[in-house]
Amino acid sequence: MTQPPYTAPYRQAEQALQESEELFRPLAENLNLVLWMKDLATDRIVYISPAYEAIWNRTRESLYESSQSFVDAIHPEDRERILAAMTAHKQGGFSEEYRIVTPDGSVRWMSARTFPIHESDGQVARIAGFALDITQHKKVEETLRSVLARTQERYLLSRRIGAARAAEDVLYALRSVTTFSDAQRAAIWLFDQPWGEVTPSRCDILVEWQDSSDLPALAGASYSFEQYQFTQLFVRDEPLWIDDIQTDPHVSDHTRSLLTKLQTRSFVLFPLITSNQWYGMLTLHFSTPKLLRPEDFSYFEKVVNQAAAAIYNFLLLEAETRARQEAERANQVKVKFLAMISHELRTPLTSIKGFATTLLADDVAWDPDSQRDFIKTINQEADKLTELIEHLLDLSRLESGTLRIVPEEQHLENIVNNVLPRLQALAGDHALVINLPEGLPPVMADPQRVEQVMFNLVSNAAKYSPAGTQITLSAAARHKDIQVNVSDQGAGIVPEERQRVFEPFYRVEKEDGTAKSAQGVGLGLAICKSLVEAQGGSIWIQDQPGPGTTISFTLPTMGQ
């Protein structure tokens, strides 16, 4: 180095500088802090500590050559701001946090400051700076912020769920959770039974929201497990994230086409489990392939579990209310039924008691014809009472399953032949026509009960059609059973009543307004229905144009 004149003081200064640099250098070399010095005249970095290489992942030489590499390392989003700050603080005073991108693509957060170095004459020839890697710090800051945000979110969510009056409110409350609010659609699916040992067969949508009413709804349809292969899509233990429905193997073809119609591209499924009952699913749908961080999942799981419990409670409440209403209704029906029975029993008894006490009256002497008439009435009413009691007992036994029905292989022709004389007696002044085709297959039936049904039907036909008209008994073989029909040419039964006639005590209002009591007790068809159904058949009134009634019932053929 050439020594200028007057070197002594200069050399002293340089020595002092060197000494302090010697103190300074080990410090600089060992700190994780990047220290540098920049010469303002040349705008070049004259010194940068080794930590630069570790943090910026670039050589110091590259920086000494040109400070452009420093600028290039700044994250594009922060570059404008930092360059502006650097320009503004050319002579020191820069204080910023910014991101750098290392050559391998990783991002680091730096906190940097510069300050001027004053010469003895007060001029600023150089500035010094330091940069501290605060990436960890930032991460912690970010985590704390996110935890705080989440805590607030959870608090708000809890309040909203607490205020919910229905499952719908709970789903809407979930909208306030970040990411959930970005979803295009959310739905709560309910299985038709909790998924334990037995897999449910269907599920329905309990409640749904979507961010646009232009899109089709999931709700309103019932989804079959079989068809959509939900067993491969619905998972119990954890949420399932489907980032692209086109490629994910959990999604069956049917499900894919359903979701495509809904414009869902990715979705996440949460199992709804409360009190160890897996009762449904919560799905969140997105219209674009969406990236979710795995660490977010555990937060979402907690949130959904909270919602699941609230929804479960609403479902329980609903079920209980329904059950209570059902029980009340059933009780009402029972009370009404008992009242009807009481009335029905008392009516023939009134005649019996009445005419008996009439005959016993001291103040009137009845002539023999009247006496005979009264006694006949007593007798008839007693028969009516007996029939009523028999019917009631039959009905009661059928209801409780204690009526003995013994199905055996029977030929319909035989049953009809057996009961024919009694049917003809019943038909009275009606023409009874039997129409049985040849070669009917045998049926599985209890002959006594089939006779009882035919008896009842023919009796009704006779009661409800004018004298002299025809009553027809016919049969035809069908695929799995034989259908038997009894037709009359009476006034017919209006469509509104065709279901009701099978109710106990229900009697059709005759057009001529004839008192119902003349028609019998009203239990016959109810009993026929129970008898037929107990043997595996069904009974109904035919839809037919024109007057007259045809009642049909079926009996299963052998091998069913």
Partner: protein, 125 residues
């Protein structure tokens, strides 16, 4: 001799009442429905009505209301026949012209006594 209107849809019970009342010297008009009953009541102006409250479609109550409410015809005493005793006790208070509630099945003597009491009270025609 008083005219008694019997409104009862069961033909045996109707016959029971008619036969006993006629044998004791009363004139009996019979009706088996609410419509016929009310028509007979307006035309025949009976001194007493014997009414089965459980006519089809609960029309017995309609008859009772009509008989009680009609201001043109003076109140006719009514003897009600019913299979349900308890309900009637309460309802009878609503209709002051019900003079007796007979619960089925009844002894014919009770009916006869009630009729004679009702006619005696109202003085008969």
């Amino acid at each position: 001799m008083a005219t008694i209107l019997v409104i009862e849809d069961d033909h045996s019970i109707r016959k029971l009442a008619a036969v006993n009342l006629k044998a004791r010297g009363h004139r009996v008009i019979e009706a088996d429905t609410a419509e016929t009953g009310l028509a007979q009541w307006r035309d025949g102006l009976p001194a007493l009505v014997l009414l089965d409250i459980k006519l089809p479609d609960l029309r017995g109550w309609d008859v009772l209301s009509a008989i009680s409410a009609d201001s043109e015809v003076p109140t006719t005493p009514v003897i009600v026949m019913t299979a349900s005793g308890i309900d009637m006790e309460v309802s009878a208070r609503r209709f002051p012209n019900i003079v007796k509630v007979l619960i089925k099945p009844f002894d014919i003597h009770d009916l006869v006594r009630a009729v004679e009491a009702a006619l005696g009270r109202s003085g008969g025609p």
